[in-house]
Amino acid sequence: MKRFEPYVFLRELATRWDVLAFIVVIGLIAFLGETSRGLFAPLSQLSSTPLSLDPVHLPEYAARTTFRMLAGLVLSLVFTLTYATWAAKSERAGKLLVPILDILQSVPILGFISITVVFFLSLAPGRVLGAEFASIFAIFTSQAWNMAFSFYQSLRTIPNELVEAAESFRLSPWMRFWQLEVPFGMPALIWNMMMSMSGGWFFVVASESISVGHTTVALPGVGSYIALAIAQRNLAAIGWAIFTMLIVILLYDQLLFRPLVAWVDRFRVEQEPGVRAPNSWALTMMRRSRLINAATVAFHAAVLWTSRAVKRTDAPIDDKPARPKRSLDLLWASLVVAAVVLGLWHIVAVLIANTSLREALQVCGLAFLTMLRVFILIALASLIWVPIGVWVGMRPRAAQIVQPIAQFLAAFPANLLFPIAVYGIVAWRLNPDIYLSPLMILGTQWYILFNVIAGASSIPAEMRYVAANFRVSGWLWWRKVALPAVLPFYVTGAITASGGSWNAAIVAEWATWGDTQVQARGLGAYIAEATTAGDFHRIVLGIGTMSLFVVVINRLFWRPLYYYAERKYRLT
């Protein structure tokens, strides 16, 4: 097997990948130690050492923010692996858990913060830790739902023969989870983690610089830095923050997601032909470094050890289509109905006592305004990006350059640019109802672009040859070839963009620059205003209305459109 090589011990002592890995690992440890030190400090420390706009502090702030993001991601992962598994395995629980997830997904992120911050602060009274909890929870709420959804869907679509193989070789449920179910769900899960991260960055300001009524906490981090820069009208500081974010997102991409995407490629059950396997220098480093290899081998052994340690119960055959136990079902159903009625009654009671019907109608009106904005903006963004996306997608070399940039822009928190917009609106006395609107789609339009690029580059060459052969060109070409071929991809992108825009409305319709405040009429501004005022009843009303609108629009518009496009236009 092994050929004899002279000086082999020198080469084996350390590869250059080992050196690289060593630096990265030590760096990570130092980073964790540094950032976790501040957690147990008393809350008063936050006010005694106020944030500074001096860019010197930015690396530290960036580290703190990164740490929170990571913590949020880990929490989301734990939530995903438990909640989604429960929903998929228990039919009874799934009936309730899946719709709940659907609703949670539509609740604007700011809503979770304003309602839970007091609770989290009380968990560790007087300590920074409590505020950190609140912040991490806020980040968690911007990341967890779509991850859980993707994993749930993966669990429901595991090929039957793989399940049977696992059963016939008598894998314990624990082993089956780690050897079959998690690996199978991994590719979709990683992709959703990337999306989640973008969502988290977008709300980095809101999740660090928490301000609900009289409760004001500013945790050291990039988000708070931005908030302070806005309050002090420091354009240079905003510039520094943007620069820092670029670096941080780049690092995240290179050190975390790129390696993950490259690594997870092996988990794909089916490989589309012609798609190049993604690669990553960081993954190469990890694979070539014996240091890290040793660590992964240890980890692998640990996983196997747990599957040995967990007792195997020879489960009886479970192929009966769950002969439903009527009485239990009935009990479960009545419990659910009771909970729903109770919840509904509670909400209505609170709202009736504290708000009026007129206010409710007014909120609905505002919601319509915001909806109008979202639809117009999606249409405008589509007009611009669909042709560009198709053009780019048909040219592999251009696509290779543009695709990562579009994905990067989608991850970039576009609200960093808001102050500049506010500045302009004030300076030129523009109508905020119109000119604040584009901010809503600033960060989400990229989903349309990169999905269309993906769609256009997957048009089979033969189809393009046919079009060229029959000299189909101009508008006819767009109508009969390009647009139908990218439609399923476009719809996927537009759904994401639309959801993101609703979420962004809260920060986009109510923008501030120092003490200048620009406001557009819409549901987002209503919620933002209520949050600032700490008016819980109006927060609940606003957020409830927004969730309702998002869910209804998804059910009545996007979902049917999606299935239609999938059925009719998906090229297989």
């Binding site: 090929p159 023969e161 193989a165 070789f169 690996p183 988990f267 195997r312």
Partner: protein, 434 residues
């Protein structure tokens, strides 16, 4: 040799409940014994319940009544001494060849060193040396199925279950794998004591098995049992071999005696709209008629002969032949297919004439087609919703079967220009597309 069977199925019945409360019977009155040293073949077409029976034996499903006993005790859940090889290989794509093979031992919590030793042995035995660290995607289909075999053998099972293990492979690869398997089996180098092989390939069954159980459909049951006492290795060209193949063809095309429930009679019963129709394209129908009409057959063909000429397996050939029989274009009996007068006429006609003949037969012998046409003729609008017919069909069959049946009729009707169907709006009409 010990005479008590290692595996015994007695009076197995398996039914799945349908949404409307009735049940769909897939297996009935199934008795099977596996003696030590035997390869038993379960031969039948798709839908004959042979794969279901294999899953009952594997402990992946439970019979509605009757019992499966392995070494004298009833099976409840996957048994340690029974391993399975899957049609689609069912390898875990994220595990290497070695890890895939080791998985079954890992589940038994064997000591690490033992796992390594046994896995390498199995890999070695099945001819995968050098591929230990490869991922399944890097392997060809044949190599993947070898991993499937190694994974099954490594747990040292008494019984090996094979679910059409060669049907996803190309002809050449399949033959190599079969031969390799038979060599190992003949030399006694595998730990297994008995094999159950599910297949729809008659030659494969005769080549490999000591006993063949021929399955019939609706519900699945054993039509006959055929002993193959030819010595291994067997030669496909051996007259006795051919005779056996021929005999099985005859068995499988035989009309059920009398008017017993089930069988083909029920599949294409007298004349009711409630029969499930097979998905057979008009190209295949025309193609088979042309092939049978042409020399050397000149109107009457031996099924095994024409199957090998057209390179079709029984799973593909039988539905076409039976559809021709249902449309009264041909007669299938005793392992032969014989074209009727109209079948010959069709084979020799030009496009328009073919369509006319087909239309006449479709409306005369397929009651559902006639029914749809009548409804469209009677209505002033000459159009009808799909759901109208689906509802009617669902009185007789499952939702899925109703949809499939209607699609089959649409396919034939489009060819015959009997009526039109717009999938977008789910509407039947007499109009031609504008």
């Amino acid at each position: 040799m010990n005479n008590s069977p290692i595996l015994q199925c007695s009076d197995i019945r398996k039914a799945f409940p349908k949404p409307d409360g009735a049940e769909l019977l897939v297996l009935e009155g199934m008795n099977l014994e596996l003696q030590e040293g035997q390869i038993v073949g379960l031969l039948g077409r798709s839908g004959s319940g042979k794969s279901t029976l294999l899953r009952l034996i594997a402990g992946l499903a439970e019979p509605t009544s009757g019992r499966v006993t392995y070494l004298g005790s009833p099976i409840a859940g996957p048994a340690p001494g029974i391993a399975m090889v899957f049609q689609s290989f069912a390898l875990f794509p994220w595990l290497t060849v070695f890890e895939n093979v080791a998985l079954g031992l890992e589940a038994q919590r064997m000591p690490r060193a033992e796992i390594r030793k046994r896995s390498l042995q199995a890999i070695d035995l099945i001819g995968l040396d050098g591929f230990e660290s490869a991922y399944p995607r890097e392997l060809s289909g044949g190599m993947r199925q070898r991993v499937g075999f190694a994974r099954a053998l490594v747990v040292q099972p008494n019984i090996l279950l094979m679910d059409e293990p060669f049907s996803a492979l190309d002809v050449l690869t399949a033959e190599t794998l079969r031969t390799d398997f038979l060599d190992l089996w003949g030399e006694g180098r595998m730990p297994i004591k008995g094999v159950i092989l599910v297949t729809h390939n008659i030659e494969e069954a005769v080549l490999m098995c000591d006993r063949i159980l021929v399955f019939g459909s609706n519900p699945g049951r054993i039509l006959s049992e055929i002993k193959v006492s030819l010595p291994q290795p067997r030669n496909r060209l051996d007259p006795t071999f051919r005779e056996l193949v021929e005999r099985i063809y005859v068995e499988m095309t035989a009309r059920p005696a009398g008017t017993t429930a089930g069988g083909r009679q029920e599949r294409f019963p007298g004349l009711g709209i409630g029969s499930v129709l097979p998905q057979v394209s008009t190209n295949l129908l025309a193609g088979l008629m042309e092939a049978v009409a042409a020399p050397p057959f000149n109107g009457t063909a031996d099924l095994p002969k024409i199957a090998s000429d057209l390179q079709m397996e029984i799973d593909e050939l039988f539905p076409v032949a039976e559809t021709l029989q249902m449309l009264r274009f041909a007669e299938v009996e005793g392992g032969d297919i014989k074209l009727a007068e109209d079948g010959m006429a069709f084979a020799h006609a030009a496009v328009d004439e073919r369509k006319r003949i087909f239309l006449r037969h479709l409306l005369t012998y397929v009651p559902l087609a006639a029914h749809v046409r009548r409804v469209l003729d009677e209505r002033a609008s000459h159009s009808a919703r799909k759901s109208r017919f689906i509802d009617e069909l669902e009185d007789f069959m499952s939702e899925e079967a109703a949809d499939q049946t209607l699609r089959a009729v649409v396919r034939w009707a489009r060819y015959a220009e009997a009526f039109a169907y717009d999938d977008e709006n789910a509407m039947f009409s007499l109009e031609n597309p504008t």
